[in-house]
């Protein structure tokens, strides 16, 4: 991806990342009506559309902030594809079918398709990770929260009243436990690409 040219619409991504209200407003004014129409025409309503749009923007935000998302295609196409994908998945979920990811034929040379695919896999992984994290025991949850918030393991150990070595070992084992939960979930195997 490195050599591809960044599209000028990167400004929308940067604007989201900076929580710039003008840019967010512009996204709603310029790109959201098309999504709302699509969802309404495909057995949805305005409320559903509102949720899909919001979730999609949060996913883009997360990918931008965690993975330095670089837009190589127009925002319009990318955003629409993402919302569409999300909506189709919602429909499938509500009709109790398995959600399969790879059923659409992707033309790999299409930047928008490819990027939207990447982002939606990213988003589903995030959701899966969050779901599995919630299943961890409280001791692990607290330790991991403290570890990533405080950063210095010495301080973490101190705040939890344990030794540095123990806190360190616990951290590895808690993430290890999480790794096992994630790898054991059926969703994970569908997401692996």
């Amino acid at each position: 991806m490195g050599e591809k040219k960044i599209h000028e619409d990167q400004k929308y991504i940067d604007g989201l990342l900076k929580n710039n209200s003008f840019i967010i407003q512009a996204i709603y004014d310029n790109f959201v009506p098309k999504v709302v129409n699509y969802i309404k025409q495909n057995s949805g309503d305005a409320d559903k559309a509102q949720d899909v749009v919001q979730d999609t923007l949060i996913t883009i935000y997360n990918q931008a902030s965690q993975k330095k998302l670089k837009l190589t295609c127009p925002f319009d196409a990318y955003f629409f594809l993402l919302c569409k994908r999300k909506w189709l998945n919602e429909l499938k979920k509500s009709s109790n079918k398995e959600v399969t990811i790879n059923e659409e034929v992707l033309s790999k040379d299409d930047d928008a398709q490819e990027l939207a695919f990447e982002t939606s896999v990213f988003g589903e992984k995030q959701a899966l990770f969050a779901e599995m994290f919630a299943q961890l025991g409280d001791a692990c949850k607290d330790l991991l929260k403290a570890t990533f918030k405080i950063k210095s393991m010495e301080e973490v150990a101190k705040s939890l009243g344990v030794t540095y070595a123990y806190a360190r070992k616990k951290k590895s084992l808690c993430i290890g436990k999480l790794t096992e939960l994630v790898q054991g979930s059926p969703k994970f195997n569908q997401l692996k690409n």
Binding site: D14, K125, K169, L173, I175, G176
Partner: protein, 249 residues
């Protein structure tokens, strides 16, 4: 996977493995598929957790703001839609008449709401393109981009810095003033605009117009009207100013 492996993953990611062990570790990643898959998931989870907890507050702020804009956007559109297609079925004439009155009253009410002019009706300045004047190119470009992206805090910082070395640049002063209106720093904005107005530059009338808009944003209607009246007929914004005055009266 054995516990020992997770301890190894953590040490590797923290760059705390001794050199010999690093080579051994990396070799194992290449040859042991299960080990390598577990490591990749472990690494992804670490990145996920790090992001999740380190940026908890910024993410929460983003979500709150997003929800606000989203619900404003959607409530606006639902109202518009319901007004277009009122759900009336088996209504008799009187009911129609009553409904019509209500719609009419509501319409008048909405019309009055929307016809009160606000600053945001007028802050539609297009993208700016600043003339290049030499050594401060990069900073200038940065301020210009920030302004065009409506990132006014950054634009303000940029313009302020540029004005330090080019204190007589009226164009920069004007854009700095607009940035400050956007940021609600009215004292700075008004000061700058007064300064441009009292001078004799090409931006004199623009400054008057924006000073009026600044007063409008501060809800000082009287002051706004007074300033608008001083705008000469040959000013770019003369017509808009006249219309604004009509609405404010």
């Amino acid at each position: 996977m054995e516990d020992q492996n997770y301890i190894l993953f953590e040490a590797y990611l923290a760059n705390e493995l001794p050199k010999e062990e690093v080579a051994e570790f990396e070799n194992r990643l290449k040859t042991d598929a299960e080990f390598s898959q577990a490591f990749n998931t472990y690494k992804e989870l670490s990145a996920f957790l790090q992001h999740e907890f380190e940026n908890e507050e910024t993410s929460a702020a983003f979500k709150t703001n997003l929800k606000k804009i989203s619900s404003e956007h959607f409530s606006k559109n639902t109202v518009a839609e319901e007004m277009v297609k009122p759900k009336a079925r088996k209504l008799n004439f009187y009911k129609y008449a009553i409904a019509a009155c209500v719609v009419l009253l509501f319409g008048i009410f909405m019309f009055n709401q929307f016809s009160t002019p606000t600053y945001s009706d007028y802050n539609d300045y297009g993208a700016i393109s600043l003339s290049v004047r030499g050594e401060n190119d990069a900073l200038l470009k940065k301020a210009e981009t920030a302004f065009n992206n409506k990132n006014f805090a950054e634009a303000e910082a940029g313009f302020a810095k540029l004005l330090n070395s080019d204190s007589n640049n009226t164009e920069l002063k004007l854009y700095r003033a607009i940035s400050n209106i956007e940021l609600n720093h009215f004292e700075t904005a008004d000061g700058l605009l007064e300064e441009i107005r009292s001078g004799n530059s090409a931006y004199k009338n623009k400054a008057t117009w924006y000073l009026a808009l600044s007063k409008l944003k501060q809800k000082e209607t009287e002051a706004c009207l007074e300033i608008l009246q001083t705008l000469p007929e040959d000013a770019d914004d003369f017509n808009r100013a006249q219309k604004l005055m009509d609405k404010l009266d």
